[in-house]
């Protein structure tokens, strides 16, 4: 079994993570453009960041047999720095049609300001013009309202929900996002977002259609193995393997595949490390000690 982690910030991760991800069966990853913790003060640092996502990080991942893709966009936090935001908007057209750019992201709301809404709307239009999927960051504060507002803005901008992944959902937002036709992603992230056990229960309740599990591992306390760990726990708790594969591999491939920039053939049969072979070799999904040993950590992320 193999995985596609459709939200992970590898620029903040070490080669140890890459090695463990490859060993755990992560075949491909999508790295959204985001805030880097330290606010940027110059447009040039955005350019070099985007260049890293389509350049060095892609190479770094390939050294471990992992295929790296990205989404390009102006994140909601830095959208509030209006002068800088306008300069970043001028850069975006240079990147949206690059190879391996599978969408516009991660965009959305943070503080839910007027500036955030303005740049969300502008970027939604770029996505429509370029026929690219959108990866949405939903706010941590006042999440429910922010999620509704995001969907309203997108629909008003003429975006088709089937082209959008709304991320960082929880028990409170899942139903309305699914009901409005969006791909509904869950971030397994210790403490501030969602744990693996809650994810298992959500899957039991809502099934696997249009559901996606990702790690959003970044510079904070997070787990680059969140996707394979969640899959292992799902298996352990009796969820059918087909459903596990749907939410950890096939669904993200379907939605981001609409860009024409990500295709299973990119890693199937490619030379080098075969993640699925390693995965079977580690007997990762067979439960018990093997799982814990292969992933060096316990499966339950609180």
């Amino acid at each position: 079994m193999k995985f596609l982690d459709s939200h992970v910030h590898m620029v903040s991760r070490t080669t140890d993570d890459y090695q463990r991800m490859a060993a755990a069966g992560v075949a491909a990853i999508i790295e959204p453009s985001f805030w880097q913790g330290q606010p940027r003060t110059e447009v040039g640092t955005f350019k070099d960041y985007f260049n890293t996502l389509i350049g060095f990080e892609r190479f770094r991942a390939s050294q471990f047999g992992i295929r790296h893709y990205c989404t390009i966009g102006l994140n909601p936090k830095e959208a509030n720095h209006v002068k800088l935001a306008d300069a970043v908007m001028e850069l975006l057209p240079l990147y949206v049609c690059k190879e391996g750019v599978v969408g516009i992201g991660e965009i959305g709301f943070d503080d839910q300001t007027a500036a955030e809404e303005k740049y969300l709307r502008l970027q939604a239009r770029i996505a429509v013009e370029a026929n690219l999927p959108i990866q949405i960051h939903t706010p941590h504060r006042d999440k429910k309202k922010g999620t509704i507002r995001t969907m309203d803005v997108l629909e008003d901008a003429g975006v088709d929900p089937s082209m959008v992944v709304i991320d960082h959902n929880n028990e409170e937002t899942v139903k309305m996002v699914l009901d409005r036709g969006y791909w509904t992603a869950f971030t397994i992230y210790p403490h501030t977002k969602l744990g693996t056990e809650r994810m298992v229960e959500i899957l039991r309740e809502y099934g696997a259609e249009r559901i996606i599990v990702d790690s959003a591992a970044d510079w904070g306390i997070s787990d680059a193995l969140a996707v394979p760990k969640t899959a292992a726990l799902m298996k352990e708790r009796g969820i059918a393997l087909d459903l596990v594969e749907q939410v950890t591999y096939r669904n993200p491939l379907l939605v981001y595949g609409q860009s024409g920039q990500i295709d299973e053939r990119d890693w199937e049969g490619a030379e080098g490390i075969d993640p699925s072979a390693l995965f079977e070799g580690n007997t990762l999904l067979r439960g018990g000690m093997d799982v814990a040993t292969a992933m060096s950590q316990y499966l339950i992320i609180e």
């Binding site: 260049n51 190479f59 390939s62 050294q63 047999g65 690059k98 990119d266 049969g269």
Partner: protein, 306 residues
């Protein structure tokens, strides 16, 4: 050259992709616009098949034509060929337009775009204005990018200073690249490089590591007492490739500092050189390169022609 490359691209590509490129070229020739060039250059990835390479027989015809000695398109994927053709179209503009556009494209280029730009370097005019940017490209640790400059590219041999040349060769050895693909390696040999190779070998040996046997090719003609000792060391590494490299050096270098017993010990290998059974080419081919995964399509995915 461009017409020849266009013929190869046409024979290797889906007609719709090739027609798209022809239209972009016609537009550029009728009325050059920088933004249109940017989008065409990036847009190659939206129109050509991502994994397909030029068939070897077509590539060999271009290489064999010898229009640009040392230039080779063997193993290129279609993205690279299509983009090099676009750059040759750009090169028809005046110097200011061409260089400004080229540097702007490089400024936001992804890995495969960067590879195309460096691959085109020996075909572009105004090499003196490109030299610094090509040297900058070699600072990359992305193997595809490094290879596009260092291997099968005549630009460095023709335009690099000795210091830049030596840095390139040493870095190629660091990255375990097959240096028999470096064009004019023998013509650019120099004593500073020979000494640096010797020093690098000592560092590696002290750490219990290996140095590619190909490295010693750079020392021919510059053997001093120190390098003569290194050659003796090569007999004791237990690696047949090291022995062969030492023999290749001795066969080409008649320096009197080389102890006669070395020649005696290696006489079989030296005879193989005389019989043309052993050469730097055969040695380079025999050394299994370190597997480097580099994000490009693999040879097994090369296009099959019907």
């Amino acid at each position: 050259m461009r017409d020849q490359l266009l013929d190869v691209l046409k024979a290797s590509s889906p007609p719709a992709a090739f027609d798209w490129l022809r239209e972009r070229i016609a537009e550029q020739e009728a009325h050059f616009q920088r933004n249109a060039f940017y989008f065409a250059f990036s847009g190659v990835s939206r129109h050509f098949p991502k994994h397909d390479r030029i068939p070897d027989d077509l590539a060999e015809k271009v290489d064999a034509s010898g229009k640009v000695p040392g230039f080779s398109i063997r193993g290129w994927d279609l993205f690279r060929l299509a983009r090099v053709i676009l750059l040759l179209t750009l090169a028809e503009q005046d110097q200011e337009t061409c260089l400004t556009t080229l540097f702007a494209v490089l400024d936001t280029a992804d890995v495969r775009e960067r590879v195309a730009i460096y691959s085109a370097s020996p075909l572009l005019p105004w090499p003196d204005h490109l030299r610094d940017t090509i040297i900058e490209g070699l600072r990359s640790n992305i193997v595809d990018v490094f290879d596009s400059i260092a291997l099968n590219n005549p630009f460095p041999a023709a335009h690099f200073s000795e210091a830049s040349w030596n840095q390139m060769v040493l870095k190629a050895l660091f990255l375990s690249r097959p240096i028999y693909h470096i064009y004019n390696l023998e013509q650019r040999r120099n004593p500073a490089l020979a000494l640096a190779i010797s020093e690098l070998a000592h560092e590696r040996w002290a750490a219990g590591r290996k140095l590619s046997s190909e490295a010693w090719r750079n020392c021919i003609g510059f053997i001093d007492d120190g390098i003569a000792k290194d050659l003796r060391h090569l007999l004791n590494t237990g690696e047949s490739h090291d022995r062969q490299a030492a023999a290749l050096v001795l066969a080409e270098d008649s320096n009197s500092l080389i102890p006669e017993d070395l020649r005696e010990t290696l006489k079989e290998e030296i005879a193989a050189v005389a019989d043309e059974k052993l050469s730097w080419q055969t040695l380079g081919e025999a050394i299994t390169p370190l597997v480097v995964l580099n994000g490009s399509p693999t040879p097994s995915q090369s296009v099959k022609r019907s």
